[in-house]
Amino acid sequence: MSARSIAADVASGARSAASVLDEHLARVAEREDEIHAFNLVTEDKARAQADAVDALVAAGEPLGPLAGVPLALKDNMCTRGIPTTCSSKILEGWRPPYDATVVSRLADAGAVFVGKTNLDEFAMGSSTENSAFGPTRNPLDTGRVPGGSSGGSAAAVAADFAPLAIGSDTGGSIRQPAAFCGIVGMKPTYGAVSRYGLIAFGSSLDQFGPFAANVADAAALFDVIAGHDPLDSTSITDFTPNAVDHLDRGVEGLRVGVVRELSGGAGSVDGLSADVLARTNEAIEALAAAGAKVEEVSVPSATLGLSAYYIVAPAEASSNLARYDGVRYGLRVDAATTGEMNTATRTAGFGAEVKRRIMLGTYALSAGYYDAFYGKALKVRTMMLRDFASVYENYDVLVTPTAPTTAFPFGERSADPMTMYVNDVCTIPSNLTGHPGISVPFGVGDDGLPVGVQVLAPALGDGLTFQVGAVLEAAANGGDAS
């Protein structure tokens, strides 16, 4: 059942928020042991929130737009008094004394928080295999990964533990798991959604964004969480989200570019599988059939994104994760001196992938190496911004596959970091440029698992991504495309 139907039913009194919650918790009880979407199911909190909504309904008080709708929160979002772990041992047991701005907005909108979802430790990964608390399984095929890093949030929606979830996207961590789990996931324009209370991985890349089973629900969720926040200096000041208004606008006359470097055209990145490319082409045809003007475009620097990203994100992470030193909160492993305590704590508290990225980032920022690595990555970033800006002079949106393949089996890529990193090749450019992007399911691959198609737009074009996503969704559901 869609989030909008639930909200409408709760508001009309047709169903109570408590009964809606019960239905979802029943599914959690049934499948969570198998899926492991959550680090923590916050049942008491959820019941209290649902009861509060029901009390408002009974009293005839005004309700928020998400009143009574169950929602899952990625476990890198600060929730006051509720453990927030980033799926890392180093934060195990820490309870933030404050709520992230997005969490406050969702609470004000009447959402019911079902739990904190699993992720790759500190959002570093593309399969949720890097969690210190064990992997999350893809609800569509439990032998396969749900994608990552927001794998728990994507799985929670795919398993209907909640119709809505929040994820964070630093290099594709919302869009890729959405594609793998057959749902909708969207990364907003950098600065559209407050980062206050988002436990940082790559500060210049991180954004919270919505997961939902359909485009309209995702748009409704986006409209609740987006908007200026004075607590985040990088928050855009004059931005009024209106994604829902875009849903019925269609694509008639819209100029759609297909990025050939990310879609198997000339000079394309390697590793894009044939079935994914076939579904992407069908999606493009569906847009053309709906009246869009579709053309292949070239963005040469798009292929450099992966390399630049794996300098910028680890560099920022090496600094952001320095504070986990055993002094103030979280894990502390005692040792003879402060320095030895820092080392022992971080050695025991961080997993292999996090250590790898801290080392990569530390190296990239070191004296004598800055210009060759970090400085050069910033130049690539500038170049990509310029290239995309020039493409957007002639196109309203761009289309690519979301991920090179469908969901892969556990262990297939975890041994070699490079094969794992390639997963993000299509999603990373919009993190580096700060542009919005959405992944919408479009048919299935040869293995029967869902394929996601990505729609990219220029900065502040968040509404456009939902607008085009809605058309793709209708085409996919209409059956004429797959």
Partner: protein
Amino acid sequence: MTSCEPTVHEPTLPDEWELVVGLEVHVELATQTKLFCGCANEFSTDPNTNVCPVCLGLPGALPVMNAKAVHYAMKLGRALGCEVHDSVMARKNYFYPDMAKDYQTTQYDKPTSIDGELVLGDGAVVGIERAHIEEDAGKTTHVGGGGRINDAMFSLVDYNRAGVPLVEVVSRPDIRTIEHAKAYVNELRDILLAIEVSDAKMEEGSMRVDANVSVRPVGSDELRTRCELKNINSVRSMGRAIEYEARRHIVLYANGEAPRQETRHWDEEGGRSTPGRSKEDADDYRYFQEPDLVPLAPSAEVVAAIDATMPVLPAARRARLGELSGASPEVLATVVERGQDGLALEAIEAGADADKVLTRLQNDVAVNDWSKLTSSSLAALITMETSGELTATQAKQVLADLIESGGDPAAIAGERGFEVMEGNELEDIVDQLLADNPDEWARFTSGDDGDRKKMQGFFTGQIMKATKGQADGRAIAQLLGRKAN
């Protein structure tokens, strides 16, 4: 003490060596709140009470720049004659328990202010390389062991100071004497007070000085290896520290050795510096632009508005007084430093003798509260003194009354029964004294210059005593001279 440790007793450095000093001064800005959060900028409260997720560096918390702090920093930059331009915040990464985020948010390659200068009282110019904005760290107390982090039994950290806004003013290595180093710090403090951006109290830590010290042979323009002295708690302590360090370098060079570039800890009680961290094994701070904050881009209008509201700075105030008087630089510096220059200017404008006004202020108004002394009463007093209506001694007494309780100098002089003793009355007293002291008078009239001077002092003292200070010194001198001839 090792063999290369100098002893400090000589007042100056050996002639063949020249001192080269650059100063780094951390100034706490007197804002209501901290640099990146709404916590009170107030250090003297119970530990860890002025803290929040932002200044504790909790996961997920983000900084928001304090606009007032930026304004103060730009104002200081302009007061130092700096170019104030677009700047960015950067992260300086290093592990230390008092750094809540294990990086300090500061400025690196694009500081707010660059290329200024500070003009000292005697006209010497010290270049300002940069003045940048940064956050302060918390305060660590190491308990047990030697009081240092790695042998303490445990350490206590107070984050009340974490996130307090600072500006670090970095001078060029233009300072050549200890007196200039002291004058630089005093001048900077006067500027900070004049533009009201800091309370600038070294003893309370709201102004902290680190000194980069090296020496070189006189006539050379090389910059030799420097040592950075930390833990300097007063201007006097800075002078001692610089002198000690310079002598240490000279002794090393004399022994055919050379100092290592390092940070050294000034031990005020022991009167010596001890090695801290060597620069060779110093952290690589891995600076990069702070992604959580946006660049600071002051418009030309903002900078112009700062300039338009800039008060007249101490150097200009001294220059103004200097134009009106023949007073020495020391007198000008004292009067301006005390903020008495406005009073002086008004008194001079009202017709009082400029030099006399400044001398009286310097010598006789060295008090904290002189609010009852008005420029008109000061002018009237000085005029009475210069016209001979009051003797110097009387004038001082009246001035003391004016400072104490205000009022009209003529009325006070009247109440105290002050009138200048002249003419016959004075002459009678002098004649009597000459008669009573014939030996002394003989020495006055027939002795050499030294004798005459001594005896003039003797008779003047006796006359003053006899007249209870109401005689005028110049009248006495004239009278004695006339009688001797």
